[in-house]
Amino acid sequence: MVQWKPKLPVSLSAIQRYGLAVLSVSLALGGALFLERFSIRSVEIPLFLFAVAVTAWYGGAGAAVLALLLSTIGFDYFFTEPLHTIYISATDIPYFVVFAVFASLVTWFSAVRRRVEVALRQARDNLRIEVAERTQQASLLNLTHDTIFVRNMSDVITYWNRGAQELYGWTPEEAVGKHAHELLHTVFPAPTEEIHAELLGSGRWDGELDKARADGTQVIVASRWSLRRDERGRPAAILETNNDITDRKRREVEIRTLNEELGKRSAELEIINKELEAFAYSVSHDLRAPLRHMAGYTELLQRNAGTLLNEKSQRYVRMILESAQRMGTLIDDLLAFSRIGRAETHKTMVSLEQLVQEALAEVRQDTGGRKIVWRVGTLPAWYGDRSMLRLALVNLISNAVKFTRVRPQAEIEIGCTDQKQDQVVVFIRDNGVGFDMKYVNKLFGVFQRLHPPEAFEGTGIGLATVQRIVHRHGGRIWAESLVDQGATFYFSLSKSQGAN
């Protein structure tokens, strides 16, 4: 902003001002004497008055007094009888007094006029500065993308920036002078009296408002109001900035709806889970009891009537017992499987290598007398549920042991093929009987078996359990095999939480 000094007429020094008095009076005197030669008389008084007026105008009051004094002396000396003396006859005194009073009046008037004019100029200049500042500020407000407008205390728009035009579609010419809330169809969240009370009390208000654009579409804005007061502290105008939050609000509503939906779903799931739990409990308790009784009484029958039964009948009794036994195992396995799905996972950092060693120790208890070559590679520590992962490894390793039973020397390799930042792939490879890849999709189903029970025992639930554990670790399980060429089972574990 350029600070420029207003040019005032009072820029003369004292010498110049008093010199002006002397000069103007001298010129007036000279002019009067000159005209007297051509017998033009009685012009001296107007000339002296003119000199005094000019001096008063340009030289100020002090210089004017000097000019008045000099004029009086000059008039007395050159133009009143007796000439060339400064003697004043009594008859001339009123004449002098009138002259002096008149000259004083001229001086006074011109001084007043000058003062007024100086004040006026100053006011004009100040006004010009202010206008320049305001214009600059207004153009700055126009630069911002934010929607800004100003309204007076009757809510009539007095300023409307470009951001407002962009948001609402009204040009400044259309908007200024209109009632803001009528133009924008503002819907307030609270009674306007309350909002105004807050604005007047704290000087500001903010909240969410529903408004309409020029084309009639609705827009939700985060609105902030600031109260401007005039120099006497009276509320003068309200500056309102608006931010379009329509999209955000819509997303919030969507998220809320989705959350509610999710809440409903998880409530449903919880109910289903409860039912499943009740079912499992019932299986666990109620189905096992009659089975136990069946086995128990058959056993007692065998004991009491053993000698009376022929061989065939004895075999029947044995079959009943075997079947009861098998059903017991099936129920237990099924329960274990359902427990994997229902139990909460407790994930910690687990050393997979140590887990493999533990699983090996458990499986080896049942491999007495067999020749098995074990190859265990290095495995990382991973984030997972220790007991579940252990169960998975025990299942896979005991499968490998089971299906290599026909080999004179079993070879079982456990390792890790692929370790990335967020995923690890563990494999268990054997040289056992393998399976036909045609049936690979049946491998992980509950009670699915690819071998007759006479060849390899089992309930067909082990791999289903492993798959469930792997899924609960956000991983995947798959297998590769050729009939009689061994099999390799892979499972991946994800670092993220995975599906629960």
Binding site: A289, R292, Y297, E299, L300, M327
Partner: protein, 150 residues
């Protein structure tokens, strides 16, 4: 086997009662078994009320408790016993069909002394009952105030 403690069995299933008693008989442990058929009857026995009003007030040497019982279930009986100053010393063995971890945890929380899942296989069942009977009724020294047969 010098002394034999009285066993209180809480079991609603008559077949289970018969099989358990048979198993105990095999080892001559069945003489001192009192059978109650639900939680309420068991508590009546322990508090000497109802049909057990006239019995002498000693506590059993061990309580074999099924969990799934009519009227008052096993966990409630357990809770009642363990929160009663006079009864809390009685060793309680939960003898159940339930493999559920939830039941096991709840039982241990309430202070059960042992938790046994009845095996389906009869031999295993007999063995479990035998060992339980021998341990709690013969080997274990029960707290003072319980019945011992000399």
């Amino acid at each position: 086997m010098g002394t034999l403690g009285r066993i209180l069995m809480v079991e609603d299933d008559p077949k289970d009662v018969e099989l358990t008693l048979t198993a105990l008989e095999d080892y001559n442990l069945a003489n001192e078994v009192v059978v109650t058929r639900d939680g309420e009857e068991a508590l009546d026995y322990l508090y000497c009320r109802g049909t057990y009003e006239t019995r002498s007030g000693e506590n059993p040497a061990v309580l074999l408790l099924d969990l799934k019982l009519p009227k008052v279930d096993g966990l409630e009986v357990l809770q009642q016993i363990k929160s009663d100053e006079k009864l809390k010393l009685i060793p309680v063995v939960v003898l159940t069909s339930s493999h559920e971890e939830k039941d096991m945890v709840a039982s241990y929380r309430l202070g059960v002394n042992a938790y046994v899942v009845k095996p389906v296989d009869f031999h295993e069942f007999v063995n479990a009952i035998k060992e339980l009977g021998i341990f709690w009724a013969v080997i274990n020294q029960p707290p003072p105030g319980s019945v011992k047969k000399h």
